[in-house]
Amino acid sequence: MNDTNPMLEMRGVGKWYGDFCALYDVNLKLQRAERMVICGPSGSGKSTVIRCVNRLEEHQAGQILLDGVELTEDTRNIERVRREVGMVFQHFNLFPHLSILDNLTLGPIRNLKMPKKEARELALHYLERVRIAEQAGKYPGEMSGGQQQRVAIARALCMKPKLMLFDEPTSALDPEMISGVLDVMVELAGDGMTMICVTHEMGFAREVADTMVFMDRGEIVEVGPPSEFFNNPTSDRARLFLSQILSHH
């Protein structure tokens, strides 16, 4: 491992569900501290791409290299990858039977073998950063969707990941909850976290993204800086998508 490797590299990645081609020849490069936003119509494979990165899905063709190391079926390899990659889900997926604090400390204690006290301090530190430190003793069911999603971000951060994946983190939230979550993400981006974010929040994308990726039908149609993507999309599909998504703003 050295710093000249890209954080993440995908080479010709393909993925099929039965005969349905979910991903086709996906090539991506993500540098350290780069912020990438993936957008595209539903069913375009955006979520599948990032789920392949921490191997919630297996790719069937091509290569995925994380920090220069290729993802394989080897269990130790998968565990290492998951230690280094944090993920935030659309539906938060907090553990409802555990307190907020236990949600955060479980990974560090079991996977990083961190002492309990240290894990607790770490958890409180990140809860403070997402502005819910005072609710550490509560259970997920007692919180609003926005708060739960911020807890989920803190939970991922507790693993001290090198790369954060966000899978439509605001899509399941009530409108008034969205900005709180986006604020946390913007802050995170400001701290130099490497991240890939699947989202429809184009305001967030414009503000934060270094790179925009547009996908349709399982393939990458366009890659470029947001200024170019939003102002001069080269493909018809991207133009159509942008006109649909931005028409109400």
Binding site: L56, R82, R83, F89, N93, H97, L106
Partner: protein
């Protein structure tokens, strides 16, 4: 809509309207209770009348000594209580083994391994589609001499394998009812498969598994009566022995039945209390 006009028709208030008394309505619990009393009364009358017609000589006064006696201030359990002790022992050991078999079978059924799934399926189908009595004979006459266990453990193992086939499906359903997102979230924070099961999946599945599992314990208690055919000295065996000694078939069978009933009903009550407590804890 014109709000002012609306409120003139019927004043709207945030206060709840007064509750109606349930006692005099058609849903009154008094009617329920009256029905129950009438039903039980008829039942008791039928039994008594029937016994009278066959000129049965009730000897309830002789029954208590078979439950327990107090001699010189010392409590001496009778055959029925000792039999109950053995029944509870059988249930206890069987249930532990049942849980192990159930969990293992459920995990095999959900696993990716073809041979694992095959073993589990063959076990489930074989046990469910043959009579328990035949299984008991196989365990007692075939398996027990081979592996060198006595009739008690042959019975315990047989019951455990029998109930395990039902327990496996209960546990499988419980594990599958935990949403996929929970598995994924556990994976995403890098938990091993074992930790995922132990810290995330089982704690959420157990509240769902517990009620049907109590049903399983209750059927285990009831099924343990079948061990009387291989002469394990449990409650039913003791009952049989007493009847051949005393000829008080009615009294002894009613008593044995009542003892089973007390145990199973208190078990259900205990579990609903635990569930209630757990629900408050959430």
């Amino acid at each position: 809509m014109d709000h002012a006009a609306h409120s003139e028709v019927e004043p709207v208030s945030r206060k709840r309207p007064p509750r109606k008394s349930l006692l005099l309505t058609r849903k009154s619990p008094l009617i329920d209770i009256a029905q129950l009393i009438a039903f039980v009364g008829v039942l008791v009358w039928l039994i008594l009348a029937g016994a009278q017609a066959m000129e049965y000589n009730w000897q309830w006064y002789r029954v208590d000594r078979y439950i327990y006696r107090i001699i010189d201030g010392e409590f001496i359990p009778g055959p029925l209580l000792r039999g109950l002790g053995v029944t509870i022992e059988i249930t206890f050991y069987s249930m532990i083994i049942t849980l192990v078999i159930s969990l293992a079978t459920a995990l095999l059924r959900l696993s990716g391994s073809v041979s694992g799934r095959l073993v589990a399926t063959v076990y489930l189908e074989a046990i469910r589609n043959t009579p328990l009595l035949i299984q008991l004979f196989l365990f007692y006459f075939v398996l027990a001499p081979i592996i060198g266990i006595d009739r008690f453990w042959a019975g315990v193992l047989c019951l455990a394998f029998f109930e395990g086939s039902f327990g496996a499906e209960i546990i499988r359903a419980g594990l599958q009812s935990v949403p996929r997102g929970q598995y994924e979230a556990a994976d995403a924070i890098g938990l091993t498969r074992r930790d995922r099961l132990r810290f995330i999946i089982l704690p959420q599945a157990i509240p769902l598994i517990l009620p049907p599992m109590t049903g399983l314990v209750i059927s285990l208690i009831k099924h343990s009566a079948i061990l009387s055919v291989i002469a394990v000295a449990e409650l039913t065996t003791q009952g049989l022995d007493l009847i051949s000694e005393t000829f008080m078939a009615f009294e002894i069978w009613f008593t044995v039945g009542a003892i089973y009933l007390v145990i199973t009903v208190s078990l259900s009550l205990l579990v609903s209390w635990i569930e209630h407590r757990a629900a408050i804890g959430r």
